[in-house]
Each structure stands twice: as structure tokens, then as C-alpha cells.
Amino acid sequence: MSSSARRIVAPVFGIIVFGLCWEVFVRIFDIRRFVLLPPSAIISEFADSPSFYWENALTTGRHMMIGLSIALVLAIGAGAVMASSRFIEEAAQPVLVLILVTPWVAYITSVVLWLDGGDPSIIFMVSFTSFPVFTFGVVGGMKSADPAARELLASVDARPWEVLWRLRLPSALPSIFTTARFAMGLGLAAAYFSEGSALTTAGLGAIGRRAVSFNNAEVLWTTIVSAALLGIAGLTVISIAERYLLKWHASQRS
């Protein structure tokens, strides 16, 4: 089998085996439907109303992408400042750690009240939870820029924005892509949970929350699997962008 064929066949094989084990496990142990639904029931539920799940997945995807994009842009700005000043970096670190470790599910109600629910509160939660992860990645990456190249740029009096654009930001790209994978997981969780709490009717999280209220295991588990597929799609986009933008990097060379 060629390596390109193997890259497709192996994951598909893994997923099929996992799905079969899951199905057998649920049936053998007769697990309650709300605790764990068999994959066949989830596929059946999805096949009954694909457009319903597709549209809500798009809504969740939009929340996630907008939130992550905002977090990334803010992290690049904050990271650039932190990477250029040890004092600012040390002052900002405890704040970022605080945001990172504080359980966001505990204060989500306050955010919903503050922003009147809806899209703003969902996007805020996605951005707020992923911002520290992105910032740590950006700072680490920017600080890894080759000191000899920094000195070289200084020898022709490069402006700070030139150093950022020509050296620090490209140097940070590998680290940004690595942290983007973690941020994607965090952002998806934040989007799903926030939709369920933000007095909104659209999004996988919102229909998942309603399904819990109405004891509807089929809808709940189909939103969970849809969210997982959304995450896989997001990670695929990151991998494709990484392959294109980091073709110069050792990690992308065989």
C-alpha cells in the first residue's frame, strides 16, 4: 500500500473498528440509551434529518471560527508585546494562567447575563478560553526567533513592526499551529457548552441542551458526534494550512 493510500485507509479502518467495538459493547452490556447510544442509532437519527444537524453544526462552527480568530489576532498582538518586553511578559503571565485554570463553566452564567446571551456571549467564551493558549504559543514561538537573525535586522535599523512581520511572526508559526490544535478543542467545548447556556436556539450545544431537558438520547448523542466531526474538520483545516504555510519547516519534510 502506498503511503498516501495508507494515510486515508488507516484512520478509516481505525474508526470502523472503534465504532464496531462501541456497538458491541453497548449491546452486550445493555447500556441505557441516555448513558451511551450505539452508533447505529446515531447514524439512523442523523439520516432522518441531516439538514437539521448540518445547519446547527454550521452555526457551532461559525461561533468557533469567529471566536478562535479573534483570540488568535489578540494573542498575536499581546504575544508581540510580551515577546519584546520581559517585564510585560512576567506581568501578564499570572493573568493568563488565571484565565487558563479558572473553570469557565463556573462563570458562564455571569457572561451570559453581562452580554445578554446570544452570539456575543458564545463568541466571547470561545475567545476568552482559547486566548491564553494562543498567547503562550505566540510568545514561545516569537522568542525562538534566531538571535543571529535578530541582530542582523538590527544592523540595518529594522523597525519593531518589520522585526515582527519579517522574523518573529514567521518564526512563531510552527508553535501557533501546535497550540491551534489545543485551542480548537477548547474552543469547540466552549462553543458547545455556551450555546446550551446562552438563551439561543441554534447550534449543536443549544439542541443538545434541549435534548437533555426532553430526555431525548438520540438527539443528544447525535449532537455530540456532530460536534466531534466538526472538531475533526477543524483539525483537518489546520493540518492543510500547516502543510501549505510550513512547507519550509522540518516538521513538514519527510
Binding site: 537573525a149 544592523s155 540595518v156 535599523d157 519579517r166 519547516h249
Partner: protein
């Protein structure tokens, strides 16, 4: 284009460590001067002071009448660091143009020699679209030379640029550098540990003592130009290297 360099009582202290004792020293226009001395004697520190990348503790430096900071601002200094410091995401040609892209207002309107011509001159004409990881160490350092010469700078400062290369490549590199310097008539301050390199390239060799670095000998190299590779097999070359080795040994013992 070249410049006269004047150092008057230049010294440098780091905390309580005296790195450089006061040094008074001139480099004439178009002259190639090598700083030769044991490790840690302050050669690189002296070069960084002339490049305006560090401030002297005392004394003054003039580059064609400008301070090092003014010369840096006007891009009158071409700096070649010890490592090639190529940006891995830029092609050979883009790397060679890097310093022209920075602080563009100070770039030469019509350089004496274009980047394409310089790349041809150093044998990299066929590698313009290659990335640094596709080049050998010697080829990478040749790109570093082109990047510095492309600036059309009055002064080239070279900090052991061939230190990491094997002996054969290193010999080739000094022949290439000598040819470029002959053609363009640039003033050069070159730092090296290699006595053969110093003799082959220089009009003068300044021998420095161990820390705190001071000039212990300023030796004129009376070899004719142009200097061709065969020169290294002559008696004159052998006598000069022997004499410089003795000076270096004396410098280490002072």
C-alpha cells in the same frame, strides 16, 4: 563605496568584567583589516561596537564621519554573523534581498551589483528558488555574503563567518570573499581565529591579547592584489602565517 573607520579610546566593560581595554585604531577606505586573537578576547564585542549593536563604555567610533548608530540607520554597514542566519521560509534570492527589504528608505536606489549578479558570482545562480534547507553549509554562508554585499554598504563587518565550515569549504569561501572585495573595494573588518584566512584576506592584521582585549600588534600584510588561491602555496604566505602565529602566541601570554 567605502568608508574610513576611526576608533578613539574605545573600551567596553560588562558589570565588573573589563572585556576591552581602551583601543585606538583606524581602518582606511577600502582596506581589509582582520582582528585575530584568542577566544574571549573581545573581537566580537569590538565588532558589535563598530556595528552600533552595543554602546562602548568609553571612547568614540566614527564611520566615515557618522556614529555607528547613524551608519546603521543609513544602512552603511553590512553585517555577516557567525551563522548564516538565513530565514528558512525565504528562498535563496529572497534571503539575499532581505536586508534590502528592511528599512527600505535607506536602501540604495541603484545598487552597483544586483542580487542576481552577486548570486551568479558566488555560483548560486541556479539555486535562486531553493530554500536554505536544500543548501550545504558553504552555500548558505555564500548567501549570507551576497546578502551583505547587496546592500552596497560602505563597511562590511564579518564575525567569523566561516568558523563552522570544513577546511576545504572554508578555503573556497575566503577565495570567493577576496574576489568580491577586490571587485567592490569595500572597507572590511573581519574577525577570525584562522591565521591563513587572516593573511590571505587582509591588508592588515590586528592581533589582540587575551581578556581584557587590547591590540598587541598591527601587522601589514605586504602581499600583492589580486590574491589568487595559488598564493597560499608560496613562501611569503608561509612566512607571514608563521610570524602571525608567533604574535598570537605572544598576545595570549600578555
Amino acid at each position: 563605496m567605502s568608508a574610513r573607520i576611526e576608533l578613539r579610546g574605545v573600551s567596553k566593560t560588562f558589570g565588573v568584567t573589563e572585556a576591552l581595554a581602551p583601543i585606538t585604531f583606524d581602518v582606511a577606505e577600502g582596506e581589509i583589516v582582520t582582528l585575530l586573537g584568542p577566544s574571549g578576547c573581545g573581537k566580537t564585542t569590538l565588532l558589535r561596537l563598530v556595528a552600533g549593536l552595543a554602546e562602548p563604555t568609553a571612547g568614540e567610533i566614527s564611520i566615515g564621519g557618522d556614529t555607528p548608530q547613524q551608519a546603521r540607520r543609513h544602512k552603511h554597514i553590512g553585517f555577516v554573523p557567525q551563522s548564516p542566519a538565513l530565514l528558512p521560509w525565504r528562498t535563496v534570492e529572497a534571503n539575499a534581498e532581505l536586508l534590502l527589504d528592511i528599512n527600505r528608505r535607506a536602501s540604495p536606489a541603484s545598487p552597483t551589483t544586483s542580487v542576481a549578479e552577486l548570486l551568479d558570482e558566488v555560483g548560486l545562480g541556479d539555486f535562486r528558488s531553493a530554500y536554505p534547507h536544500e543548501l550545504s553549509g558553504g552555500m548558505q554562508q555564500r548567501v549570507g555574503l551576497v546578502r551583505a554585499f547587496a546592500l552596497d554598504a560602505q563597511l562590511l563587518l564579518m564575525d567569523e563567518p566561516f568558523a563552522a565550515l570544513d577546511e576545504m569549504t572554508r578555503t573556497d569561501m575566503r577565495h570567493i570573499l577576496s574576489r568580491l572585495c577586490e571587485q567592490l573595494g569595500t572597507t572590511v573588518i573581519f574577525v577570525t581565529h584562522s591565521i591563513a584566512e587572516a593573511v590571505f584576506l587582509s591588508d592588515r592584521v590586528a592581533v589582540m591579547s587575551a581578556r581584557p582585549g587590547r591590540l598587541v600588534e598591527d601587522k601589514t600584510i605586504p602581499l600583492r592584489h589580486p590574491r589568487l588561491p595559488e598564493l597560499e602555496d608560496t613562501d611569503d604566505f608561509f612566512h607571514l602565517t608563521t610570524s602571525l602565529r608567533a604574535s598570537l602566541r605572544n598576545g595570549m601570554n600578555r
